[in-house]
């Protein structure tokens, strides 16, 4: 084997350090969740390595709190947000990609105005309006509210994806006899697949741990982040770890399933300019 160059070794050390920094909190989360409390939360000097394994924390939390309802509520909202973001974002980004790039990015920047305002200042009047519309305390209502933040981001990523497709492909499809809908969904959408999946993941994950909108709009049927917050404030730390794990697993699953469609350049395409 060839000896590694010093620059290579420095790179590996840096990557390793970064990995540790990012993974350490997740490690602690799992440690607390699957160890008996007297090794972790009740210990004066809690050990950093597992000493014993137990499922009791989890089973206790799952029995004494209703976890299924918030989980379903969160899933429902997250998928709604992701699909609405694609349903509106794909036509919007396609339209913008046919404009001169300068103009398209100008309009996209305008879309971010709702993001510039503090979330609390928008959510209160909207929540008041949603009460009269019957959208208060509903998954659809929260999903629509979250689109305020998600949709501009999704459009931004999708715009980059559509702009990277040569115009001639679209012209060719038109000349070959495809109408506008068939051109968009038969040739352009498959080519923008990586960007679309990136937009889907980003929208889904934003909604999954969104808190400010959720706590105000869904007080009676809350989502997981709100339930976790309630438990932390009540001091139920062991139950909280159980919730946190339940909350992490879908994210990991979704990322693992979808990451093979993601390539670095697709995200970069969305983030240029």
């Amino acid at each position: 084997m060839k000896p590694l160059r010093p620059s290579r070794i420095a790179l590996y050390v840096a990557v390793g350090l970064l990995g540790v920094i990012i993974l350490y909190p997740i490690y602690i989360l799992f440690l607390v969740a699957f160890s008996p409390a007297h090794f972790t939360l009740d210990a004066l000097y809690p050990p950093q390595v597992p000493h014993a394994f137990t499922l009791q924390n989890l089973t206790l939390a799952l029995h004494s709190y209703s976890l299924i309802d918030p989980l379903l509520q969160s899933l429902q909202v997250a998928f709604l947000v992701a699909f609405i973001a694609l349903g509106l974002g794909i036509p919007a980004a396609y339209g913008l990609s046919r404009l001169p790039p300068g103009l398209a990015y100008g309009i996209t920047t305008l879309l971010f105005i709702a993001n510039i305002l503090p979330a609390l200042t928008i959510v209160v009047p909207i929540a008041a309006e949603f009460i009269s519309l019957g959208l208060y305390d509903t998954a659809v209502g929260l999903a629509l509210l979250q689109e305020l933040v998600v949709l501009p981001l999704a459009v931004f990523i999708l715009l980059g994806a559509f702009q990277s497709i040569p115009r001639e492909i679209e012209y060719q499809a038109r000349v070959d006899g495809a109408g506008l809908t068939r051109t968009l969904f038969g040739t352009l959408v498959p080519l923008a697949k990586a960007g679309i999946i990136a937009a889907f993941l980003l929208s889904w994950m934003f909604s999954w741990d969104e808190f400010t909108f959720a706590v105000i709009l869904l007080p009676i049927h809350p989502t997981l982040p709100v339930v976790i917050y309630d438990n932390i404030t009540r001091g139920n730390l062991l139950a909280t770890t159980a919730f946190a794990i339940v909350m992490t697993i879908p994210v990991i699953l979704l990322t693992v399933v979808l990451q093979k469609y993601l390539k670095g350049e697709e995200l970069a395409g969305g983030l240029k300019g």
């Binding site: 040569p166 001639e168 492909i169 012209y171 060719q172 499809a173 038109r174 000349v175 070959d176 006899g177 495809a178 109408g179 068939r182 040739t187 498959p190 080519l191 697949k193």
Partner: protein
């Protein structure tokens, strides 16, 4: 015979840039028509207006006698090959060629039959199942061509389809293209900046300069009787030579090609050689006349710089002060 494609007064401006100015053109059925012109002077735009990708500011387009000026591309019954071939990257070769047939709702067996036939003609049978990014440039060009000819449109539009090929492949692809056009007997509307392609392929060539059709004629007429000095300079390996017309008024000149000149030690005219360039079978001599005019002559004999050559002009065209050809050749 009826016109397969007719352009009437087509005008298109991008801001101040003129890409088409009152273009009149009529293609006969079965004709191989080439638009020749420098890059960036509106050739592709003209083609795209016929395809329906761009809309002219004024004028109308007729295909098979039917006005299509404002119809979308899928309602025009044309097919097109783009310079970069525009193959669908998410489909393999077979599905690329099948795409236009699927759009016309052909039954699956008929699509398969047509694709097998066209693949055999173009020699791409063994790559039908390959992804389009795994095949060579020459093969991609054939696939794009196959996709264009697999259905029978009224007009084929080809936008510099050979310019992305390397020189050797381009030569065979050019010959093949001509053969296919003759076998199909279909109307081809072809755009190029390469006059060798126009010469080899076209029945008639239209020279486009700054959005205007300078001349429409068979290629050898472009060479022998350029209607304007601009055409004379653009067509041919070297620009045309001009000397003051001894029988004409002020500003009137005669134009002649290097190969219309006979070098002759008893000739009436003389020039001194500034530069000699060997081009295979002949030498091009860049010369200066006693009046200080620069002209290019052709000689089978080598002449070095500084030598004086005598010559006679065997034939020439006369040009008025407006740069247009005058009818009577001297």
């Amino acid at each position: 015979m009826t016109a397969q494609l007719e352009l009437r007064g087509i005008t298109k401006h991008y801001g101040k840039r003129v890409v088409a100015e009152d273009v009149q053109l009529s293609l006969r059925a079965g004709e191989f028509f080439v638009i020749l012109g420098p890059s960036g002077e509106g050739k592709s735009t003209l083609l795209r207006m016929v395809a329906g990708i761009e809309t002219p500011d004024a004028g109308s387009i007729f295909i098979d006698g039917r006005e299509v000026t404002h119809l979308p591309p899928n309602k025009r019954n044309v097919s097109m090959v783009f310079q970069n071939y525009a193959l669908y990257p998410n489909m393999n070769v077979y599905r690329n060629i099948a795409f236009p047939l699927k759009m016309q709702f052909f039954p699956r067996e008929e699509i398969d039959e047509k694709i097998r036939a066209i693949a055999k003609t173009l020699g791409i049978t063994d790559i039908l199942q390959s992804p389009v990014n795994r095949i060579s440039g020459g093969q991609q060009q054939r696939v794009a061509l196959a996709r264009a000819i697999v259905r029978s449109p009224s007009v084929f539009l080809l936008d510099e389809p050979l310019s992305n090929l390397d020189a050797r492949v381009r030569f065979t692809a050019r010959a093949e293209l001509k053969k296919i056009q003759q076998e199909l007997g279909q109307t081809f509307f072809y755009v190029t900046h390469d006059q060798k392609e126009a010469e080899a392929l076209s029945d008639r060539t239209g020279v486009l300069h700054q959005g205007r059709l300078e001349q429409v004629s068979p290629f050898e007429v472009l060479y022998n009787e350029p209607e304007t000095r601009w055409v004379g300079d653009f067509v041919g390996d070297v620009p045309m030579n001009y000397l003051p017309d001894p029988e004409g008024g002020p500003g009137e000149e005669i134009g002649f090609r290097p190969d219309w000149v006979e070098l002759d030690s008893a000739g009436p005219l003389s020039a001194s050689v500034e530069l000699a360039e060997n081009m295979g079978e002949a030498n091009y001599l860049v010369c200066v006349t006693p009046e200080g005019k620069k002209i290019i002559l052709r000689s089978v004999v080598r002449h070095g710089p500084g030598e004086t050559v005598r010559f006679r002009i065997a034939r020439a065209q006369r040009y008025g002060s407006d740069g247009r050809r005058k009818p009577s050749p001297t």
